[in-house]
């Protein structure tokens, strides 16, 4: 029996704990990627694993993403359960063929006869001036293509629970973790990057959004950092008597339409916030869901906030301008409430 005392863990420790527990539970689970051994993963998601499970189950790879992700696919087809790390999601372009043409399609093309129980985990997100090739989230790039579940948890609790679900799932899961929410010692120290995490293994579903704040005046949908900024903005709005409902999407594919539509029925107003690019992005999909399924509930045009179709610029002044933050969300909601 656990004590009621809260057990606080950082995001990356929560992930590493999930992986470790699943490795303990199932000898078919193994981990591979760049610098995931002694280094423990650049963002700490594999810390401690090599010490516990040794280099046979925790494999540092060469800089050969196509080879090692492809090998994970081949191993999964034989019943192993690999967890492969693509260090930054920004690198997807060197190995996307393996991800989307093979990992995501083989189960379907085989008529369900080949299962690929594997997790591709990858770091997303900007906000620390790592510029155009190391700051993207690319949520929609993955979520647009069928055959992979795509999740992006926002809290240590969900990072652990959804990682456990992902490893136990018999389908390929792309697991995106946000660098700023890992609780890294060398990044901005955010309260949101640390949270209560039960020690025992538990699962969180891979297809459910969460209402993280209830409200009646407007619905704000976000994911990862944008969810947290939305909550912060909502608190500020609350001081002015505006009650925003904040939804943490958590899963990009499959997407939980019901939670969104239910909320819109109540609030009649929608702001979608995304750290990914604006056009053809998550904000578009959710706006479309609203236009299809909640048109008669909407009291004002849908609003979208996202990176305005520019690569992520380096300089702080520029990056701050393009990535939505608490203040922009606050302003956008204020202006949205004046309409309609």
């Amino acid at each position: 029996m656990k004590t009621a005392k809260k057990r606080m863990l950082s995001g990356n420790k929560a992930m590493a704990e999930a992986i470790s527990q699943e490795m303990e539970r199932d000898s078919n689970v193994f981990v591979l990627g760049e610098d995931i051994g002694k280094y423990g993963g650049i963002f700490g998601s594999t810390q401690g694993l090599i010490e516990t499970y040794g280099p046979e189950r925790v494999l540092d790879t060469p800089i050969s993403e196509t080879a090692f992700i492809g090998a994970a696919i081949g191993a999964a087809a034989e019943g192993m359960r690999p967890v492969a790390e693509l260090m930054f999601v920004d690198f997807f372009g060197v190995c996307m063929d393996q991800i989307y043409n093979h990992m995501a399609k083989i189960p379907y093309m085989s008529g369900g006869n080949v299962k690929l129980p594997m997790v591709l985990m990858t770091a997303v997100g900007g906000g620390y001036n790592d510029a155009a090739q190391h700051s993207q989230t690319l949520y929609a790039t993955f979520a647009h293509l069928p055959g992979m579940k795509v999740v992006a948890p926002s809290t240590p609790y969900d990072l652990k629970g959804m990682m456990t679900s992902a490893i136990r799932d018999d389908n390929p899961v792309v697991f995106m973790f946000h660098k700023s929410l890992q609780g890294l010692g060398w990044m901005d120290q955010l309260d949101e990057a640390v949270g209560n995490v039960p020690e025992e293994a538990y699962t969180v579903p891979l297809d459910k959004a969460a209402v993280v704040r209830e409200g009646k005046d407007v619905t704000i949908v976000g994911i990862q950092m944008m969810t947290h900024y939305a909550v912060q903005a909502a608190e500020k709005l609350a001081d002015e008597g505006i009650e925003a409902e904040v939804i943490d999407l958590r899963s990009l594919a499959p997407i939980d339409k019901d939670t969104i539509l239910t909320s819109l029925k109540k609030t009649g107003r929608l702001l979608v916030v995304d750290e990914d690019y604006l056009s053809y992005g998550m904000t578009a999909e959710i706006a479309a869901i609203a236009a299809e399924g909640a048109l008669y509930d909407l009291e004002a045009p849908v609003r979208r906030l996202a990176v305005p179709d520019v690569p992520l610029p380096y300089s702080s002044v520029l990056e701050d301008f393009v990535i939505p933050g608490k203040e922009k969300i606050y302003q956008e909601v204020k202006s949205l409430l004046e309409e309609g």
């Binding site: 193994f30 081949g74 192993m80 393996q98 008529g111 080949v114």
Partner: protein, 336 residues
């Protein structure tokens, strides 16, 4: 290193016969496919029409690579194959009925009609193929990893064309496999072309076994599309892999008797080329060797008849199978 050509292993007669009948089966399978593929595409050829629509890449002439290697594999060894997969599939023992039904787009197919000719998966004999050049190499490496992790002596073979050896996946995977000492064999079938591009316009060295040196592994070259030489080179490579001595690259000189795909106008090669190649038909050569080894005409006829019968039954099965329901398209994206 290159496998010494003088080395005289003898090939057991049973294996010779197996190779022969598999080659006949493959050849007959492809010949039938030429016919079936053209059904419904006349008078105007329309790739999307007929009994078997879509692209069709046949392996007529390339049988030796498949049989020489697969003679050493069990159903627990893994094979990955590219867009030109029938010879490998047949030699590996893929269920021929289900494979043909798949190519016919039927519900009874390996992939319930979802995959098609370039996407055949038979987990029972650990066979897979795919339409992206070189992409199967890492899959085979992964199977080789799994074999090791599970403590078995299984091996994995990736068949590719010579054109594929210039893709990044080739390099990345061979480095990885060499580094981790995986039981992986990459067989490069040099049929002189990647679609229309001749090897000398795609490949900066003469043959890809030479690239083994870049990974500190063994390379072997098989010339003249010779199934017996392929058998021997494969034997060494498979033995090495099972013994934990790491990967091998085998390149075999082979012949593509047909176009890149059915419908290829083949304007990029000399009209005389194919007839010349056909004169060196590996099946006829192996037949001569069998006869010289004391197998008699009747035996050979029986082998041929049996092989053809299996193929006929497969086509029959496919033709008589039902199509999937339209909304089956929505199933099998995820398993639950």
């Amino acid at each position: 290193m290159s496998i010494s050509e003088e080395k005289q292993t003898t090939v057991p007669l049973e294996k010779m016969k197996w190779m022969y009948s598999e080659m006949v089966k493959i050849r007959y399978y492809e010949d039938q496919m030429v016919e079936v593929y053209s059904e419904g595409k006349a008078p105007v050829f329309n790739i999307g029409a007929g009994t078997v629509p879509g692209e069709m890449h046949l392996a007529t002439g390339q049988e030796p690579a498949a049989v020489g290697m697969c003679a050493h594999l069990t159903k627990d060894d893994t094979v990955s194959s590219p867009h030109r997969p029938h010879h490998h599939a047949i030699a590996k023992g893929v269920d021929l009925k289900k494979m043909t039904a798949e190519i016919f787009g039927r519900k009874t197919g390996l992939g319930k009609g979802k995959g098609g000719h370039m996407h055949l998966f038979d987990p029972d004999v650990k066979f897979s193929c795919g339409g992206i050049v070189a992409a199967g190499i890492p899959h085979a490496a992964g199977a080789a990893m799994a074999a090791r992790m599970k403590g078995t002596d299984r091996v994995a073979v990736a068949f590719i064309g010579e054109g594929a050896a210039n893709a990044g996946a080739f390099h990345e995977t061979l480095n990885l496999a060499a580094l981790w000492n995986l039981p992986l064999i990459v067989v490069v079938e040099d049929n002189s072309y990647g679609i229309s591009v001749p090897k000398k316009a795609s490949t900066s060295i003469e043959s890809n076994d030479k690239r083994a040196g870049a990974y500190g592994i063994t390379g072997a070259y098989v010339k003249d599309n010779d199934p017996v030489a392929m058998y021997k080179a494969s034997e060494e490579a498979v033995t090495r892999a099972r013994d934990g001595q790491g990967p091998t690259i085998i390149e075999i000189e082979t012949y593509r008797f047909l176009g890149h795909f059915q419908g290829d106008p083949e304007l990029y090669r000399d009209k005389e080329e194919v007839p010349g190649l056909r004169q060196q038909d590996p099946i006829l050569k192996l037949k001569k060797q069998l006869l010289a080894s004391g197998v008699d005409d009747a035996d050979i006829e029986k082998m041929e008849k049996d092989a053809k019968q299996v193929v006929d039954e497969a086509y029959e099965f496919a033709r008589n199978s039902e199509f999937p329901e339209a909304d089956d398209a929505l199933r099998d994206v995820f398993t639950s």
